[in-house]
């Protein structure tokens, strides 16, 4: 009976759909790897597009600056506010700056920056390249003897890889300021005391791990956005899917990378 059930057309269709999904997954994994290898092959070979990289860095920074400032400030403020009741139960509100610094510098600043950049920068890269693909602008670059991959992909990936760590550091300091305002208002802590207690628990490993994470997040956001846009399907639907795919995939990968980096750095502590 089991055999009969397993060979019905509905089951067969379901099986072939599942098989197709598995195949598609591995094919796209292979394509992404090829894409990443191509990036490393072309990005560091002359001629270099310094001017375009700088322009893209500016674009990435400007696109996310306001949102990151507001979010960073709110994260610092709210995190401090929400942590106070738990600490005050033990009379340990003086530990607030240390708690906030560990949370922000080790995890929240890189993560929040990466998530915001995935939404703002990743989607915009996906949509921009997707629309260039649809309107044959990428083909036009190709047939005119120029290298669209180098000009469009390498510059954007380098820009996100360089800019996200800077934005992440900025987020950390803005969040610290948000935390300070809350601590100063409630505990009357001075700025110099707060700063001293904020940086005291942080080690060299924390800064390095945070930097590595941000670089990795920036690279991921750039490569995913470019991959989705560069190979987007024809038509306006393709552009939408590229933008959406860039955000969803980048966010998902950022969380996975966060887990991996946290695990690795915990071995060094």
């Amino acid at each position: 009976m089991d055999t009969a059930a397993s060979s019905t057309p509905a089951v067969r269709k379901k099986k072939s759909k599942l098989w197709q999904s598995i195949t598609d997954f591995f094919v796209s994994l292979y394509n992404i790897n090829k894409f990443i290898l191509r990036f490393f092959r072309e990005a560091f070979m002359p001629p270099f597009e310094f001017k375009e990289v700088m322009r893209q860095c500016y674009e990435v920074g400007v696109r996310s600056f306001t949102l990151i400032t507001v979010t960073g400030f709110i994260v610092g403020l709210i995190f401090t506010k929400q942590s106070r009741p738990s600490l005050s139960q033990f009379g340990a509100t003086s530990w607030l700056p240390s708690l906030v610094s560990i949370a922000i510098m080790r995890a929240l600043a890189p993560l929040v920056t990466a998530l915001i950049a995935s939404g703002k920068v990743g989607s915009s890269i996906g949509a921009e390249l997707g629309s260039m693909r649809v309107t044959e602008q990428i083909d036009a670059m190709e047939v005119s003897g120029t290298k669209p991959f180098k000009f469009l992909v390498c510059t954007r990936v380098l820009a996100t890889t360089l800019t996200i760590p800077i934005l992440s550091t900025y987020t950390g300091f803005i969040a610290m300021f948000g935390g300070y305002l809350n601590v100063a208002q409630n505990e009357g802590t001075t700025w110099s005391t707060f700063i001293q207690e904020f940086f005291d628990p942080l080690t060299y490993t924390d800064f390095v791990a945070s930097l590595i994470k941000s670089v990795l997040f920036g690279f991921t956001i750039g490569i995913v956005g470019c991959y989705q846009g560069y190979y987007s399907a024809k038509g306006t639907e393709g552009v939408g899917k590229a933008a959406n795919g860039a955000v969803v995939t980048a966010m998902f990968l950022v969380f996975i990378e966060e887990i991996i980096v946290v695990q690795i750095t915990s071995w060094f502590r």
Partner: protein, 257 residues
């Protein structure tokens, strides 16, 4: 304007295609194409939408790989050359896209400079400006130099697209539906421009179209693509001197209606 037929040097094809086949999954678009484009001539490829005309020139320019057959462009087999050789070859081929494909984040000047700066390393600012002015003058749009593509009309975009390909002094021009979506007067202007490019820049061209007015005004030779193969080739009058039911409606629709 009547086309003054240019008899190309028939011993010296700049593009030579033999037995070209191309399929997309189960759909066989090109089913064994043979084609020669001779030095200095305009060859029009006519056919209905979806017959593989654009696929043909995308294969010639190396944007799509052929499934079978030999595609020789300027003496090089497109399927058997390295990426570096293909890039060098592409500089000698101009491709005018159906929707112009102008880089919409750049001004007209930047659009024209883009291929020039990247293919002629070490070129001076003075030389760049001179080249840009020359091609803009050739297409009659010098006044648009600082405009964005979004500020141009359809006909102007086509002209700038052609100018962008001319800036590298190509030996071969490939036009994909040059008059599609344009009003009749602008169509005539574009046709005149194609002929002017042929004489002024001494190019050999393949013009993909389903517009018979364009074919008549620009083509030295016309090839009719039907069912994935060239069915009739010759001058305009020779191609349409037929009772073939697949060819005749084309003429009737364009000139009798």
């Amino acid at each position: 304007m009547e086309k003054k037929i240019v008899k190309g040097d028939h011993t010296n094809p700049v593009i030579s295609i033999r037995g070209l086949k191309k399929s997309f999954e189960d759909y066989h678009v090109l089913r064994g194409i043979d084609l020669d484009l001779y030095q200095g001539e305009n060859l029009v490829v006519l056919g209905r939408s979806g017959t593989g005309k654009s696929v043909l020139i995308k294969i010639i320019s190396g944007l799509l790989p052929p499934d079978e057959g030999d595609v020789e462009v300027l003496g090089q087999n497109i399927a058997h050359i390295s990426d570096y050789e293909l890039q060098a070859l592409r500089i000698r081929i101009g491709f005018s896209f159906q929707n112009s494909a102008l880089y919409d984040s750049m001004t007209v000047r930047k659009n024209l400079e883009f291929p020039l700066v990247r293919n002629r390393r070490g070129i001076t600012r003075k030389e760049i400006d001179a080249n840009v002015e020359e091609v803009l003058d050739a297409v009659g749009l010098s006044q648009t130099i600082n405009q964005m593509p979004s500020e141009l009309s359809g006909g102007q975009r086509k002209r700038i697209g052609i100018a962008r390909t001319l800036i590298l002094n190509p030996e071969i021009m490939l036009y994909d539906e040059p008059t599609a979506g344009l009003d009749p007067i602008t169509c005539i202007e574009i046709n005149d421009l194609i002929n002017e490019v042929q004489t002024r820049f001494n190019t050999s061209s393949i013009i993909i179209t389903h517009d018979l007015t364009c074919a008549k005004q620009t083509g030295d030779r016309i090839s009719m693509l039907l069912d994935g193969q060239f069915q009739r080739t010759g001058t305009f009058d020779e191609v349409f001197a037929t009772t073939d039911d697949r060819v005749k409606p084309f003429y009737d629709y364009n000139f009798i209606q």
